[in-house]
């Protein structure tokens, strides 16, 4: 049924925006957990662990996100679970975010000079204590700006979950278009909503980056 684009559509788009944010948070949670392992493996001394991290990152970053979403969407149903798109999307995005976050965090870990480790050792800290009190606090400061930058990428990329039928902002935009036949206004509105979510984060990431440069 065709009807006019009304305020209620804006309201529905805003409701769908919650799922964009929700999926981003889920992906950050899952991707963060995966990313910790990827970073730890990637910064390890053991070449086998490093190799595993490298292959993981290379594979995930070498396949389009759409590919991962479809693989998990259809793959999980083969194993016999008829799961809602939310689960497939969460798994797909966690795998994807894990590789990028892992690479960012590994970079931060490796960038800490060896002398910092040695300084920790020389005042009698063991490996875990060195990590906890010396390395991680510095690495976190270094990684935070690119991590926020990646969150922006993630928010934008959750729009691809629309293609497996997960109703977030972009999918809701498609649905609204189908009922109002006003794609130009609808997608402009959708773009505006993404922009108002992403732009502040982009600016924040820039401020963080500048602060870090001043510190070093």
């Amino acid at each position: 049924m065709i009807r006019e684009l009304a305020l209620v559509d804006v309201y529905f788009l805003l409701l769908a925006l919650r799922w964009t944010i929700g999926l981003t948070l889920l992906a950050l949670l899952g991707g963060g957990a995966v990313g910790l392992f990827v970073a730890a493996f990637g910064a390890a001394r053991n070449p086998v662990l490093r190799g595993v991290a490298m292959v993981y990152v290379g594979t995930v970053q070498g396949i389009p996100l759409l590919g991962w979403l479809f693989i998990f969407y259809f793959g999980l149903s083969i194993i016999g679970y008829n799961l809602p798109p939310l689960v497939a999307a969460t798994v797909g995005f966690s795998i994807y975010a894990g590789a990028f976050l892992g690479e960012i965090w590994r970079g931060a870990l490796v960038a800490i000079p060896k002398t910092q480790w040695e300084a920790g050792l020389s005042i009698g800290l063991n490996y875990i204590e060195q990590l906890r009190h010396v390395i991680i606090p510095q690495a976190v400061r270094m990684a935070i700006a690119p991590t926020v930058g990646f969150v922006v990428q993630l928010i934008k990329n959750t729009s691809l979950a629309a293609v497996i039928g997960f109703v977030e902002l972009t999918r809701e935009g498609q649905l609204t278009t189908a009922s109002t036949f006003q794609p130009f206004s609808v997608y402009l509105l959708v773009a505006l909503m993404y922009f108002s979510l992403c732009y502040p984060l982009t600016q924040y990431s820039r401020v963080l980056e500048r602060k870090r440069r001043v510190l070093h």
Binding site: T59, P64, L66, G67, I71, G75, Y187
Partner: protein
Amino acid sequence: MSYRFQFRDVFAQKEAIADGVLVTLQLSAVTIGLGFLIGILVAVSLVYGERWLRSLARVYVEVIRNTPLIVQLFLIFFGLPGIGIRLDVMTASLLALTINLGAYTAEIVRAGIESVPKSQIEAGVSLGMTQPQIFRHVVLIPALKNVYPALSSQFVLLMLATSVVSQISAADLFHAGSIIQSRTFRDFEVYTVISVLYLCLTLLMRGGFGLLYHLVFRRK
């Protein structure tokens, strides 16, 4: 698990796959060429432009970098006809991808240009080089060399991102996937094969860009 994987049906559709690979490569090549050009122009505007030009370039970069590619694509393909501009699938895809890549490239090249120390430019001036000579040999080429890794991985990401155009039925590799899927109903197998092909393209491109670096920036 009682599922039997059947890849044979998928491999039987090799013509569709080959066509898709070709379109993906063409889309990527044209987009990279045009996007790179736009990126340099916008980067130059960002650094050297008059105030109004600088603001305009900034708005372009920020709007594109803070909205999803698929929404930009939908806006161009489904939205523009609403205000009287009708584009065919390929033109819309190319336009969306190029506009998108241009913004990302601009930001990378800008960082490169700003990384060139002032003293280098002064050295150029003192050697009696003209403005265009300085820009070309002292600023742009070293700038591109500095940001080459970021630039080339952006281009690889672009190749992967072209898969999004399948959503407006452009006949790229990912779209070949959905065609084969509707012929064979082997969802999982199809998208596994397609994904592995993208992985191969990525590895090829990374190798190619590595080689190109040595060819272009060989002399110190």
